[in-house]
Symmetry: C2
Subunit: 248 residues, 2 copies
DNA sequence: CAGTGGTCTAGACCACAGT
DNA sequence: CTGTGGTCTAGACCACTGG
């Protein structure tokens, strides 16, 4: 099934890099060469290369070319917007999910601290515990907007919520704001997770998730035992170019 | 000073969004309208909009338009590649730096666990403590390649290392790999930081930093007291589109 | 100098949303 | 149907790298 040209070319180049056909620290063929090779315009090649660059797979240098980077990243794509199930699959972890609750609740003053939705509105609350290597190390709480998602079948929560939302409901999940911090262990954490005596903190990831039309349909809180948490990221330096430049 | 058209347009649109001229949840003018307004081609407008999209300021929707997002993000640009000084300035924090050491060392077996540079090579080791609100809460260790940076003047380490590297040395810092994890407090941490009794973990950020020509010139380790750590991120969902598609 | 990537254009056609 | 954003093209000129 043919997608966009630039996306196909992106995938093919990516594959050639991971297979070592294009070697680390060497240069890719020039944009003009690639344009001829794939029989597309140079702009289309450039779009594919932009994707590779955003992935941290190449570094472009004017006058020189595109250097293939030595990235261990794609082994561990934790950055971005990825579900637990996808991560577990990608990492081939021994992972299980225990569904604690899945119910409708009404937003009251208490809840509104966690979910900035209007008072009195209906929402779905689910609580899940994630077991990795037979240890309960992650506590996930999700708040969903039932006007968008409807009720969630129990079986799908035990498998993959995102798979249900995207494939069954065809909801186009687009972006999220995330916050990572460290918080003190609560009694509820201690009751539900396998914590060690020295664990008095958890890593907490809170996120607000949005659809393509920018509607916010989910909030989630994910509490991780500190020794099982790792976040890997590739980032490019933003050269602010002095905000003072430019017309105004 | 005029830069690129697309970058200027990006800045102007960004400004109009932050000033509320383009309001949250409303649509930007269409790409064709903007192209006429700025007297550029549509592709140039699209490039500016791509930047806004990557910043999490707008969400594009085919057939509809570009929705202005309600992003608190730019208040807190922790994601990306940002130096402590830049952060402190942006946040208007009461911050100080204490320089502990700044010396040349030779890579031995011990060091090589932290820095994957070849045995016997020379490097610069600097240790700095960051005080925020009069409390010593961050311990930074930096390993630099003296073949690239030379020795670092003491005064610049107490101010901003990145400012020195980029402006004085004109080194083009391009990208970094980062890892965030949580580790146990060591005796050295306890000796140098203002830790509370209940602090038995620290957030540790390790990063490898690269220049535009993809040379790795720096490794750094930044150890944060857990209550002073926060990471905010905007991420877009990557629609994998099944890796199995496409020609091969 | 020749070759590289960076920017920009004018125009084309397509896919999608809303009327 | 009209207008929106998404893709793609062929060609131009510029800025940078390296011999």
């Amino acid at each position: 099934m043919i997608q966009n040209k630039y996306y196909e070319i992106y995938l093919r180049l990516k594959q050639k890099i991971t297979e070592g056909i294009y070697k680390k620290a060497e240069l890719l063929p020039s944009e003009n060469t690639l344009a001829k090779e794939y029989d597309v315009s140079r702009e289309t090649i450039r779009k594919a290369l932009d994707y590779l660059s955003q992935d941290g797979l190449i570094q472009k240098k004017q006058g020189k070319g595109s250097i293939v980077l030595d990235a261990q990243l794609f082994n561990f794509p934790i950055s971005g917007l990825t579900s637990f199930k996808e991560l577990a699959d990608a990492q081939q972890m021994d992972a299980q999910t225990i569904l604690l609750s899945n119910q409708r609740v009404t937003v009251d003053g208490q809840l509104q601290k966690k979910v900035p939705w209007s008072l009195g509105s209906d929402l779905i609350l689910t609580e899940r515990i994630r077991k990795i290597d037979e240890q309960k190390v992650i506590f996930d709480t999700d708040y969903l907007d039932p006007k968008i998602t409807g009720d969630i079948p129990k079986e799908r929560l035990e498998d993959s919520l995102y798979d249900y939302l995207e494939n069954d409901l065809q909801l186009p999940i687009a972006f999220a704001n995330k916050e990572i911090s460290v918080e003190s262990v609560t009694d509820k954490d201690r009751a539900n997770l396998d914590l060690r005596d020295e664990d008095n903190h958890l890593v907490v990831i809170r996120s607000a998730v949005y659809l393509e039309d920018a509607r916010n349909f989910q909030f989630s809180e994910s509490r991780h035992r500190v020794d099982r948490f790792r976040f890997i990221d590739f980032s490019r330096r933003k050269h602010t170019l002095s905000e003072h430049d430019g017309f105004r």
